[in-house]
């Protein structure tokens, strides 16, 4: 370690015995401790990784549900009805998902602000050898996917953009999700927004999924080649899986 002559800059060695004792992670100060961990740089990174895993699992489940479109109207509408019939459980899942989203986005924005402050002056000549486009733009792609998610909810969940979607019912009186999707993606501009957003989501995952392993401390020469590929592959699979539906509607495969 390099030592400097600036003795005035030295602080006294820390007295750890003065640190307040907390009775374990699940002790009485759980929420206070949780908040403190989230304040820390590594704590926030771990929170990003854990919420990231939950969001990826949600995205994969969502994608698999969407792919039922290829199984026809019966399978799609029955699946949608099954989800709606969960009732209270559905709300628990929705609120849980919202909390996970908020922790992920909140931590991301806090970390981003700290990172901006840590490098106030840019280099006149900047040469990066390792920084990828997906890694560099992960905050931007995240925010754009967030904006897309808001539009997506207004479009297919709340029907704010297309109130007529609420009136679609199939022969058994179920909400006709299949028709709604075919009608919705029949609009080229709407399909375009979905297609571009899924490419952005794929870019986001291609850095994020690989990155979350490192944040959780999982770095081992035996698994690293797999972890390195997992991000880009999950990005491609998720993007292609979601894009298949608007593309199939535009191509006339789904009608």
């Amino acid at each position: 370690m390099r030592l400097t002559a600036c003795a005035r800059n030295y602080t006294l060695p820390p007295d750890w015995s003065k640190n307040p004792k907390v009775s374990g992670f699940f002790g009485e100060h759980f929420m206070g401790r949780f908040a403190k961990v989230l304040q820390s740089s590594i704590g926030a990174k771990v929170a990003m990784a854990v919420t990231g895993i939950l969001l990826v699992l949600f995205i994969i489940a969502h994608m698999l549900g969407n792919l039922l479109m290829f199984a026809g109207p019966e399978a799609t509408n029955a699946y949608a009805k099954g989800l709606k019939d969960l009732g209270a459980l559905l709300w628990v899942a929705r609120i849980g998902l919202l909390v996970v989203f908020l922790v992920h986005i909140g931590s991301a924005l806090r970390l981003w602000r700290m990172n901006q402050a840590a490098r106030p002056q840019a280099y006149a000549v900047s040469e990066s050898t390792m920084v990828t486009y997906a890694g560099r733009s992960i905050v931007l792609t995240g925010l754009l996917v967030l904006a897309f998610a808001a539009y997506h909810l207004l479009h297919f969940t709340l029907f704010a953009t297309n109130p007529e979607f609420a009136q679609l019912h199939d022969a058994q009186g179920r909400h006709d999700v299949y028709r709604m999707v075919v009608l919705g993606f029949g609009n080229t501009a709407v399909s375009g927004v979905y297609l571009v957003s899924m490419i952005l989501l794929g870019l986001h995952l291609s850095h994020g999924v690989t990155s979350l392993f490192q944040s959780l401390g999982i770095n081992n020469p035996s698994y690293n080649p797999l972890i390195k590929r997992l991000g880009p592959w999950s990005g491609v699979i998720v993007a292609v899986g979601f894009m298949a539906i608007p593309l199939a509607v535009l191509a006339g495969v789904l009608k």
Binding site: M1, R2, P14, F25, S40, G43, V46, A118, V125, L216
Partner: protein
């Protein structure tokens, strides 16, 4: 060799600096980068101008005093090479070389290319030490340490604390430095008594100093003159999670 140097000149911490251009001729390819700057300074002094201030000490790549971002890369960006070990034969006659100081809010510029790196000293003071009892020296081999652990600790201990990681990180994050220190001591039995408190205190100090956060680009690993691996950052993250879950 004839070179065009673009060097960051800044009078002191309060002034705003700028890049100044100098023409340097007669550079021998076997000179180190710092010797090239020495020659430039001698000529500046002869012309009655203020020489360029830069940090240096051992000039054999082990002290961590030299710094410099050369053409946008910390220490010039050659694998396992500090600026003092970087030779002019790596450049071509007629090249334009841009030299800037480390840029990070926790490394304020003191003068020209010299930055204040005492933030690293304060991080070390927060926990980068072990408790050693006084008395008779224990036998060297009395404490068995598995070979892989000894190797991992030695790899981490190679860190010279130069700050290239924080300088090259797009987020100004010092995590590779802190991780090297945490990982070094966490791999050895001598570091066990303070294991949990060490990582929590050093990370807290790192945050207080205003360093950024890791976004897993691994730019630091590529620029580190001691080739410290980001696997040590993963180790630090594990240590942090362990200490937090144990409620330390």
């Amino acid at each position: 060799m004839d070179l065009t140097l673009r060097v960051w000149r800044q009078k002191d911490g309060q002034s705003t600096g700028s890049l100044e251009t100098y023409q340097v001729s007669g550079i021998i390819p076997d000179m180190s980068f710092l010797e090239m700057l020495d020659v430039t300074n001698e000529r500046l002094i002869e012309e009655g101008k203020e020489p360029i201030a830069f940090d240096h000490d051992c000039r054999e790549g082990i002290c961590g005093a030299c710094s410099l971002v050369i053409n946008g890369k910390a220490h010039g960006g050659f694998s396992g090479t500090t600026t003092c070990q970087l030779h002019m034969r790596k450049f071509n006659d007629g090249d334009t070389i841009t030299v800037e100081p480390w840029r990070a809010s926790a490394f304020p510029v003191l003068k020209d290319l010299v930055v204040d790196r005492t933030s690293f000293d304060r991080i070390i003071q927060a926990g980068g030490f072990i408790s050693a009892n006084t008395g008779g020296a224990p036998d060297g081999n009395a404490v068995p340490i598995p070979k892989p652990d000894a190797d991992a600790a030695m790899d981490a201990a190679a860190c010279i604390g130069c700050g290239a990681c924080a300088a090259s990180c797009p987020n100004g994050s010092a995590m590779l430095f802190v991780a090297a220190k945490v990982s070094h001591l966490a791999h050895l039995p001598q570091g066990v008594p303070e294991r949990g408190q060490r990582v929590l205190s050093m990370v807290a100090r790192m945050d207080e100093e205003g360093f950024g956060n890791c976004t897993n680009h691994a730019e630091c690993e590529a620029m580190c003159p001691k080739d410290i691996s980001i696997s040590h950052i993963a180790k630090m993250n594990r240590e942090f999670i362990r200490a937090t879950v144990r409620g330390e």
